[in-house]
């Protein structure tokens, strides 16, 4: 006997994502879901972004890691509000976890919430958290073939930060062709904004921060 179901398998997650989406909309908060491999520099990008936009935007952060609150400590040092989620082994954040974190964040004062997902180039992109947009980070040390090899994240993101570009000008032995990355990414995603940045030197942050500011103003 066959029974037709026709139901989304991740509908439980999607219900929480919808709840989070409403939460952000009601408070006119811009929420970004930042996704990358481990070690691409997400937290360094966040601390510099928070510092550079200190006088223009109130940014809060939800940190997702398998273990430790190391990243939350780095965010806290900037003075920004932060909540750490430890997934205890899970390779991605779920919308329910984010919903729980939102209760602990003093969101009433915030204009932007950035969720730093668990470092992983594949799994997090399959779980909606209720964000306005996904933001991908790719560091030059990872190689310029990653968008072609791991297309899902790059196809779904509204922005891509290519980080650690200072390594290229140092003459480090890194084969990373930015133009190749751009053409590979544009094949997957025609409207994505791409920012070349260095969280270490601050290069490229003016344009990225202006874009983030503009996106936040669109919510308000």
């Amino acid at each position: 006997m066959k029974v037709k179901i026709g139901k989304k398998i991740l509908s439980a997650n999607e219900q929480y994502a919808e709840q989070n989406r409403k939460y952000f909309a009601e408070r006119k908060i811009l929420c970004l879901n930042m996704i990358s491999s481990p070690g691409s520099g997400k937290t360094s990008i966040l601390t510099r972004t928070i510092n550079e936009l200190k006088d223009r935007l109130k940014i809060g952060v939800i940190e997702g890691d398998i273990q430790t609150d190391y990243d939350a400590q780095r965010i806290e040092a900037t003075g920004a509000d932060v909540v750490q989620i430890n997934t205890e082994g899970a390779c991605h954040l779920s919308a329910a976890q984010v919903s729980g974190a939102l209760e602990k964040l003093s969101a009433s004062k915030l204009e932007v919430i950035i969720i730093e997902n668990v470092g992983n180039l594949v799994c997090p992109s399959a779980f909606e958290l209720g964000e306005n947009a996904k933001t991908a980070v790719l560091s030059v040390a990872e190689g310029d073939d990653k968008p072609a090899k791991y297309p899902a994240l790059f196809a779904k993101s509204k922005a891509l930060l290519i980080n650690k570009i200072d390594l290229l000008s140092l003459g480090a032995a890194i084969d990373f062709d930015i133009e190749k990355v751009k053409s590979d990414v544009h094949r997957l995603n025609k409207t994505i904004e791409i920012f070349n940045v260095s969280a270490k030197t601050g290069e490229g942050f003016d344009r990225w921060c202006d874009w983030l500011f503009e996106q936040a103003k669109k919510q308000a």
Partner: protein, 114 residues
Amino acid sequence: MHEMSVAQNLMATISAEAAKQKSKPIKAKISCGILNVINDELLAEAFSAISKGTSCESIRLEIEHKPMRGLCKKCGREFEVDFSKGRCTCCDSADFELLEDAPLILEEIEFETG
């Protein structure tokens, strides 16, 4: 390995339906798009691990992967997108938009008869 989360959600739905039907499920048909990044072996392994000793233990998963479709802005045709080429398969134009990826769906459950 997000297949474990998918397996847990899948089993919850199948168990609920099995209780309703008062019958043993033997097969589940699933469909997904490429952006769901589902690996068949990993999902089968995850499902088998969590369903051991339950009524879902002997279920076979049948997974259909639906290709990404594009709409060509030059010739207006819909086509199956090959990301390594990134061109319309009819007119070779690179000017096309991606249509929405297929969601991850539990299509059908087959139960033991008799």
